[in-house]
Amino acid sequence: DQQVKQNSPSLSVQEGRISILNCDYTNSMFDYFLWYKKYPAEGPTFLISISSIKDKNEDGRFTVFLNKSAKHLSLHIVPSQPGDSAVYFCAASAQTDSWGKLQFGAGTQVVVTP
């Protein structure tokens, strides 16, 4: 039962433009959300997180938005750079699981074109 869904397997964006990645979840107990970036043959790298008490968190070029009523979060990358080409994973956890058990979406492959 996939509780975290990334419905877009791929996204192509021009360098300098905004990349918007979307993620939906079904478990209302999730209260901590993270985005990871993954290059081939490497482990996922943490990008940014957000707690359910907030609706926005920003770190440099990365901003995560959380809409709890819609059970939806998104990651905005602006401006997109060639080094941003990677697979992006959304992940969620719940205090009821001591936050230790991350559940991941299937990922979105981002390609930034010149």
Partner: protein, 113 residues
Amino acid sequence: GAGVSQTPSNKVTEKGKYVELRCDPISGHTALYWYRQSLGQGPEFLIYFQGTGAADDSGLPNDRFFAVRPEGSVSTLKIQRTERGDSAVYLCASSSQPNQPQHFGDGTRLSIL
């Protein structure tokens, strides 16, 4: 500083054999996690340790899988009687506390022939 280290980076073995995968977390991180990732999917949770004890092992698929962390630092994931379906990348992560971001190693690519 050193990140999470996993050894070996690749392991090829025959069906039915026993394998051990090692994870060395970031120094001082009390929480350690194991995931596995199949092609085209996100990481799938297996087990997490807080200190020496397994706080949640609900993701272990069956009793062929076992993990230990005897001194609260290095962890070993053990798989008995391997099956071809066990082929995947096994990822280890650590964090300073469970409610902090998890930092991943580069994984062990396990191939069962």
